[in-house]
Amino acid sequence: MSAEPLLRIDGLYKSFGALAASNDVCIDIAPGEIHAVIGPNGAGKTTLVAQICGQLQPDAGTVHFDGRDITLLQQDKRPALGLVRSFQITSIFPDFTALENVAMAVQLNAGHSFHFFADAGRDTSLNEPAMGYLKTVGLQASAGTPAFALAHGQQRQLELAMALALKPKMLVLDEPMAGMGPDETAHVISLLNELKGSVTMLLVEHDMDAVFALADRISVLVYGKIIATGLPEEIRNNAAVREAYLGSEDDADA
């Protein structure tokens, strides 16, 4: 890991009242790396994602992306740098069709939208790429379905397609597989595997199979603190991690 990290999170601190949701969080992610962040519910994973992407401002600490300090950069300016997120709680345009949802992302990636007269719904420069991203996530058959009418798992796929349509350098994915069936999960794992190397990722995920299948490195977040960062094997065998997190699963299995 000699290369300059693409994302550098340094000393991030964020509290909600007395609760420290991020407590001195430091993570470096190298270009091309898939870095998983795992941790129990309420550990502060979504809060971390929100600060990386500008939805929340940290109380202290810095976020650098591509060598630039973006700690205070407005969130809507970040996708243009190549920093793109997905949401844990599906966030789509319910009245638009699946295709229109992705076409909106393509449109926003293509520059400003002060075009007042041409019919955007028939714009092949929007619809063709949008259809491509729907195919990528396996949703092409539902292109014309209003997003609110999609099954939950399909909405998750749509969420991902919209993120991809911004042509990210780095994807920050907040539990992308949550709520997906096994087939869809397998599809997304293989999709993220294909993107591996070309797109850097911070992957928050509960599905341990997915995490160990994809991640180059893993950070474990518990009560807002990173208690361990390392290769998947190191994390699997880390005593503190087993106790704080994986251990509870072993207990449940036993």
Binding site: F87, S91, D119
Partner: protein, 336 residues
Amino acid sequence: MVNKRNLVFVTAAVLAAILVPQVLTMLGEEYLIGTASRIAIYGLAAMSLNLILGYGGMVSFGHAAYFGVGAYVVGILSFHVFDGSSIMGFQGTDAAVLSWLLAIVISALVAFVLGALSLRTSGVYFIMITLAFAQMLYFLFVSMERYGGDDGVIMYNGRNSLPMVDLSDDTSFYYVCLTFLLAFLLLFVLLVRSRFGKVLQACRQNETRMRALGCNVRRYKLAAFVIAGAVAGLAGALNANHAEYVSPDYLHWTKSGDLMIMVILGGIGTIIGPVIGAAAFLLLEDFLPLLFDATGFPTFKEHWRIVFGPLLILVVLFARGGLVGTFSAMRGDHER
């Protein structure tokens, strides 16, 4: 959306609108041509509100401000012609082209300033601040003694002058209003389908997502706010001409409420809904009192709003898409 059935429907509606003065004259009810003009004018104003309310999800409770500013521009310019005085070093004018253009530009500017400030807030705060700004303007005009204060400005010179068209003729004036309405309808169809229109509709559905997709939400909302303000200003200028009179009532919050009712009654977020709503609202306003008088409920004549209010509530509760939504549901349409 433009299928054959719609095309036939639109053509028939446009033809019917064009024939309104002839039909009314034949029926000996010429005085209703004025009502038809008002429907076109308020249809325009309600459509402009629908752009931000129905498509952009901005609940502006002060839209009458732009209607009133446009009207006052026309009224004040006309006043100075009659008065022979100048305003900020300029002469007044009676010319329709110039004063209507100024009405559009000035109401757009006011919308830009007030929109830029209001759009820093959202939700209930946005409703309150747009209402507050509109009421501020209302009291500003009330306090302008020169322009009649409470009583407003009477345009003693009559309607503006337009080359080759006699605006004082009610039929000609109706056609001018109708032309503006049809032009804006066409523009509106293009607008809501364009990239800009899509952004606006996406912002209404999920603003957080738009930001995460890299959209500077406020910029687009402000642009829509300014367009809506400009068109409302034009409607106000037309209404000043129709009535040959302008008063602070044009900007009163109840006027903003009326516009909002027209939008909801006709069908919020639909293209033609606000025009239908304006027609229904103005016709009910004109005819409910007469109807009560004729059917032997004279007590209701004065208090027709007692019936009108519950009627509106029924529409909101049971005809969720407004009149347009109910109509297309009966036709078996499944799109808005």
